[in-house]
């Protein structure tokens, strides 16, 4: 599931920025193309694609720094809360 999630997110970003060269562990913010418009699209895409809702306290820089960070965020949101 981890690979599928990461590759799906990678495909989305590459679909919008075909020229961008990055791996799933690269800091995409350092590439310079992330703005608030794309950040919004990225969050909307992840929420719709993986049927999760990302709470405010998870909308932080470190969770979106790399594709793998985003995939881990998706997995956390998809997991049932402890005790349920």
């Amino acid at each position: 599931m981890g690979d599928y999630t990461a590759e799906t997110i990678n495909d989305f970003i590459h679909g919008r920025f075909p020229d961008a060269a990055f791996t799933n562990d690269d800091d995409i913010f350092s590439l310079g193309f992330i703005n608030s418009l794309f950040a919004m699209e990225l969050v909307m895409y992840i929420e719709q694609k993986f049927s999760v809702t990302i709470p405010n306290d998870e909308l932080k820089f470190d969770n979106f720094r790399t594709v793998n960070c985003m995939a881990e965020l998706v997995h956390r949101q998809a997991l049932p809360a402890v005790g349920q």
Binding site: P18, D19, S36, A39, E41, M44, Q48, L59, F64
Partner: protein
Amino acid sequence: MTASTPPRTLDQVRDRASARRFVRDHIAATADEYDRLGRVPEPLLDAIGAAGLWAPFLPVDVGGDGVSYTALGAIHEEIGRGCSSVRSLLTVHTMVAFAVDRWGTEDQRRQWLPSLASGRIPASLCVSEPEVGSDATRMTTSARRAGGGWVLNGTKTWITGGRRAGLFLVFARNGPGVTAFLVPRETPGVEITPIDDMLGTRASMLATVTLRDVLVGTDALLGPESFAAGMVLTGTLDLGRFSVAAGSVGITQACLDACAGYTSQRRIRDVPLRELQLIRAKITDMVTDVTAARLLYERAGRLKDAGDAQTIMATWIAKYFASTAAARHASAAVQIHGANGVSARHPVARYFRDAKVMEIIEGSSEIQQITIADAAYQKAMP
């Protein structure tokens, strides 16, 4: 619907048809008059609340009606067909209600959404500033942590509905980012200065809002800080743009309606204007553009309803097309009406003035052209 749920009456349904009836019964006869007075009458604002039109997209559990964004667009189109000032008030109220619903904590949602759904507390959005307009990268209004909360300083202007708003959603610079705050009108240090004599949407009760050492609690912060804070502004403006796109379609439809009626009655050399080919060309262009613009905002609405990220660009495109079409056709409508068109006797003069505003608010046409072209180049990159 369960067996115990009574069927809804016509007044309980929020859709295009109910909005059209509302415009017929409450707006059409008086819009020109209150446009001249520069203020939407309080009884009309109360009637909007009674009709459940302030924020019908909010969930039912907070007092909304849970209507889709597609339906919301149709409602705003119909209201815009009657009066752009009223639609502008709905737009900013919608933006704030959406932001609280989308990014609010449970406490914030419980505190504000029922009053926003009913319209008991009218809301306004504070983004634009006197020196930098709506350029968020140069925003000067500041937010700094102090006394267990935040202190806001700065001046916001062109605030639609600011004259009577009870709640302001204020965007302020907090370090490198821009953060959103919910600021009640009565907070000490909030000063309201009415702005009169605008070219268009004259009754939308604009104001300048000055914030002087306004102290708010930590519960005033709406949404995330850091890099994601910009999303609140982006998402809020996106819905405003959607509403303006729909309202612009309403203006074009109103121009078409007015011109079809006028050219059927008005005669030149014993021939109704409608028989002239140059008139028919203008009518054809209005029909074509209003149909296309409606399809564009409806597409954006369906994408919003699906939670699809493509809605953001679809909304940019819809707003750009619909607002420029409205300005073009409102100009044609005035031309068709001749001297009557520049008089106070026909509403096309109001449509013309209001349509110009649509090309400026929630992202000017030029900003939209830059954004849409940027996206095109990203996709077309070899």
